[in-house]
């Protein structure tokens, strides 16, 4: 067992984990944060995307013990104080959600993207989600939602 100290959604946990436990399983089974979904467990689909020290990663191919001393943000931690993150609101409003299984990973990926590129073009937004598979939406409304969220975030920054 490896002792780790990890901050998840702002809460610090000190736990012992078997070396082989992935960050995904630690979040889902260890902390009950089932919003992060397991789509392939091979790093191929992006459904399990979380932010690890601000960077989007596939949590299925990161070991929990590698995250000692790190900060993790999951979909459950994205909305603060009851207010939805603009991405969450835009995904609802623009019809970017169907079965929803890819949605948390998609939103977390875009959260990093918009933090780095607050004023993206649709082509850039499309490239940002190139590693997140969605079988339902054909990606069109997701791209639209990312652009809408960027607009909302700019508006909020001004206000």
């Amino acid at each position: 067992m490896i002792p780790i100290r990890i901050a998840v959604n702002g809460d610090v946990y000190e736990r012992e984990v078997p070396p082989g436990t992935t960050l995904l399983d630690f979040l889902r089974d260890g902390l009950g944060l089932t919003g992060t979904n397991a789509g392939c467990r091979a790093g191929d689909c992006g459904a399990c995307t979380v932010l690890l020290d601000g960077k989007s990663v596939n949590s299925c191919i990161v070991l929990a013990c590698e995250c000692d001393g790190s900060e993790v943000l999951t979909i459950e931690g994205l909305s603060r104080g009851g207010a939805l993150h603009p991405l969450q609101q835009a995904f609802m409003d623009e019809g970017a959600v169907q079965c929803g299984f890819c949605t948390p990973g998609m939103i977390m990926r875009c959260a990093e993207f918009l933090a780095r590129n607050p004023d993206p073009t649709p082509a850039e937004a499309r490239a940002a989600i190139e590693g997140n598979i969605c079988r339902c939406t054909g990606y069109e409304n997701i791209v639209r939602a990312v652009i809408a969220a960027a607009g909302a975030m700019k508006g909020r920054a001004k206000a």
Binding site: R28, L33, T34, G35, T36, N37, A38, G39, C40, R41, A42, D44, C45, A47, T74, I75, E76, L78, S79, L84, L87, Q88, Q89, F91, M92, D93, E94, G95, V97, Q98, C99, G100, F101, C102, T103, P104, I107, R126, A127, I129, E130, G131, N132, I133, C134, R135, C136, T137, G138, Y139, E140, N141, I142, V143
Partner: protein, 760 residues
């Protein structure tokens, strides 16, 4: 201004909040107290006799609670022909065959135990091609099918197509082959079985057919259907894959019975690829003819289906394939024969479009070829033959509303048909015909709804109509809110429990918004009638003059007379001899079950569409890039533009994948690409550069607010439209799917090689 408060407006999905916040509970998230994890050991051979199975080593793994093989269980089989044993005893017939199963305290322990089960096989000759399977001396898969040909066949005939083809001015024919693709639901399969009081079964499932599932689980396990309760957590995609009951689901029940603890089976992504059924592959021989004026004379098709080792819904896909072949355009003479052949391959089930994409891939390419031969513009040729309102097709389908000509004209105009194009660019078009008002493929095509008005004026829609991500429950809520004059957030939809919702046949055939929508509409009318009955005396109004708006019941003649719905509900409830207002309805559409002659008005209305694409092919690599995609659909009436767009965008992604990139690759029955890296679904950057959607609103008199079904329609014409565009770009007709780069490149080399001798 729209006359409607909600219908036709962009309404976010009612389940979207839970999904964007990570609160939605999927099957993968379900953990019951004491729950065990099930794992299945599968065959190591495409065809073999099982000589022995030693399960003892599995019990050496700590935490193993049960190991079962065919010897341990007595059950019926599953599958359309009930030819698929739950656990295979004497013989395995494909790599996916279930040989043994384990329940253990963790996924890891269950997997480890499976790997330790020692199975001795005696390999048998195997066959992977339906024509080889029919040849004399081929290995026989099931005693019930001599020569491996299954007795369940399709044979339809209208007029005399042979004579009509013989006397046609122009004919075209070809043999078309379609391949294995898979649904790729983002949530892999799961089943969770818990045995309750007196042997009753609580079954958690992402099924599309909760009520038919009760019957099947009962028949196979012997548990009375009255003691089987199906509950559906949020479903992470289905697309037809969950319209049947599969062995793993029964195995979860058997393990739960044996251990007395809840058992959950969750597929890995690799199992999902290797072990779930596919879209039905087909070999289609088709001929079509037309007269000098370009009027279709006949269509003739003979179809061979590679059934795989067992039989699910794949064998019945010719049923819907035939609808397009007989009824897309006006064709006076039609013949259609289809049969299925057992092989040691994967078996197939329902998948969005249900045989119709395969048939349309053939028929719409022949439309292009006939137009070329007749020297008629391809769009004009289609317009001359397009279906019209008020017509009857060879299968006795009664076409009521039909915006097909508008669809064709709009698609052609928006893609720029006939305008100059760059080198290696091409445009293609395809029409589409599909059921749009349910499809009576079972004794009932109905759906029940209970609409309960509570003391706070909130309306709970309780129904068996399942939500699989398409947004059908949002459409139901919109129809309820519109009909009741209520706000959207005062309507909830409860459709996840067979103990609660009235019966529904299942979410298939693009039927749910149409059928369940009509049931909701009728249940709400019942609620309104009950409110009128009570409110009229209270308001001193004639019940016939009461209308519903702004969450109130109002007198249309005297606006001062009105009462808030919550107040009405309480007034009715909290009084002597009080009552609650509960509406109910069961809507079974006015469509017909087809007889053996395959005639009968199977749907109460029909959907039409035209898709047009512009492609650019790189002849040096064979890569096809879709520059622009135009989809024009007769949807009757747009209920929710957001949901409708989503259905079509998603269908375009799946349909283009089917046409140009997706393929399960097998080597003698063994799957070679069981991951997302090598199963090439189109990703965000692979989508067309531009997508245009247009809707023709024909206002179907039978549809809720005029709507027709659309979810499958968006996929059906795509392989044909792309093939026609590629033919336009390269002068090469692809009769085999997918049009992947390597195949396109090979065809370009062949074309240029054939051209070279003459030029040299």
């Amino acid at each position: 201004m729209s006359e409607f408060a909600f219908i036709g407006r962009k309404v976010p999905k009612i389940d979207a909040f839970d999904k964007v916040t990570g609160r939605a509970v999927y099957g993968h998230d379900m953990v019951l107290p004491g729950m065990l994890y099930g794992k299945i050991l599968r065959s190591a051979h495409a065809h073999a006799k099982i000589a022995s199975i030693d399960v003892r080593p599995a019990f050496e793994v700590p935490g193993v609670k049960a190991v079962i093989t065919a010897q341990d269980v007595k059950t019926g089989n599953v599958g359309f022909l009930q030819d698929n044993p739950i656990l295979k005893g004497g013989r395995v017939r494909s790599f996916r065959d279930e040989v043994a199963a384990v329940a253990a305290v963790s996924e890891d322990a269950a997997a480890e135990a499976c790997s330790r089960i020692a199975v001795r096989y005696e390999p048998l000759p195997a066959v992977f091609d339906p024509f080889e399977a029919m040849a004399p001396g081929a290995p026989l898969l099931h005693d019930s099918a001599p020569g491996n040909v299954i007795g369940f066949k399709y044979d339809f005939r209208e007029g005399d197509p042979d004579a009509a083809l013989a006397s046609s001015a122009f004919t075209a024919e070809g043999t078309f082959r379609t391949h294995y693709v898979t649904h790729c639901c983002m949530e892999t399969c799961f089943a969770l079985a818990a045995i309750g009081r007196a042997g009753s079964l609580n079954f958690y499932s992402s099924t599309q057919i909760p009520y038919l599932m009760q019957n099947t689980l009962s028949r196979v396990t012997g548990i009375p259907a009255s003691r089987i309760r199906i509950r559906q957590p949020v479903i992470g995609g289905a697309f037809g894959s969950k319209l049947d009951v599969y062995p793993y689901e029964i195995i979860a029940i058997l393990l739960a019975q044996r251990t007395g603890r809840p058992v959950r089976i969750t597929y890995t992504r690799e199992e999902e690829f290797a072990c779930t059924p596919t879209r039905q592959p087909m070999i289609i021989k088709m001929a079509a003819g037309c007269d000098r004026e370009g009027r279709l004379t006949a269509r003739k098709a003979e179809v061979v289906l590679d059934n795989g080792a067992y039989t699910s819904w794949g064998i019945t896909t010719p049923h819907i394939m035939l609808t397009g072949i007989s009824s897309l355009y006006r064709v006076p003479n039609v013949s259609f024969k289809a049969y299925s052949v057992y092989t040691n391959n994967a078996f197939a089930t329902a998948f969005r479009g249900y045989g119709n994409p395969q048939g349309t891939f053939a028929s719409e390419q022949l439309m292009d070829e006939l137009a070329e031969k007749a020297g008629i513009d391809k769009v004009e040729f289609r317009l001359r033959n397009a279906n019209e309102p008020g017509s009857v097709t060879p299968q006795n389908f009664r076409i009521t509303t039909c915006g097909f000509k508008e669809c064709l004209a709009k698609a052609a105009e928006r893609i720029g048909f006939g305008r100059p194009k760059a080198e290696n660019e091409g445009v293609g078009i395809s029409g589409m015909f599909h059921v749009g008002g349910g499809g009576r493929v079972y004794k009932s095509d109905g759906c029940g709804v209970i609409a309960k008005l509570d003391d706070f004026g909130r309306l709970s829609i309780m129904t068996g109509a399942t939500e699989i991500g398409t947004g059908s429950d949002t459409a139901m809520a919109m129809i309820a809110a519109e009909t009741m004059g209520m706000p959207m957030d005062a309507v909830s939809v409860i459709n996840d429990d067979t103990d609660v919702g009235p019966w529904d046949v299942g979410i298939h055939a693009s039927r749910t918004t149409f059928i369940a929508g009509n049931a909701v509409l009728a249940a709400c009318e019942d609620v309104k009638d009950q409110i009128r009955e009570f409110a009229a005396p209270m308001l001193g109004s004639d019940a016939r003059n009461l209308v519903f708006r702004d969450w109130k019941v109002c007198d249309v003649l005297d606006p001062s007379k009105s009462m808030e719905i919550p107040r009405v509900a309480r007034a009715v409830h909290f009084k002597e001899k009080g009552r609650m207002i509960v509406g109910r309805a069961f809507y079974d559409p006015p469509n017909e079950f087809q007889g053996k002659d395959l005639r009968g008005n199977v749907s109460s209305t029909y959907a039409f569409a035209a898709h047009a694409v512009r492609v650019k092919v790189d002849p040096a690599t064979g890569k096809i890039r879709v520059l622009k995609f135009v989809a024009v659909h007769d949807v009757g009436k747009v209920i929710n533009p957001l949901g409708l767009e989503g259905q079509l965008h998603g269908a375009i992604a799946q349909g283009l994948g089917y046409a140009i990139s997706e393929q399960l690759v097998f080597d003698r029955g063994r799957l070679l690409n069981d991951g997302f890296t090598d199963y090439k679904m189109l990703l965000a950057r692979d989508m067309p550069g531009e997508i245009e959607l247009h809707f023709v609103e024909t206002g179907d008199p039978e549809g809720p607010y005029g709507a027709k079904g659309v979810s499958e329609a968006g996929l059906i014409p795509i392989p044909a439209a792309v093939a026609n565009a590629v033919a336009d770009a390269l002068g090469i007709r692809f009769r085999t799917l997918p049009m992947c780069p390597e195949k396109v490149r090979a065809a370009v080399l062949e074309r240029d090689g054939a051209a070279r001798p003459g030029a040299d």
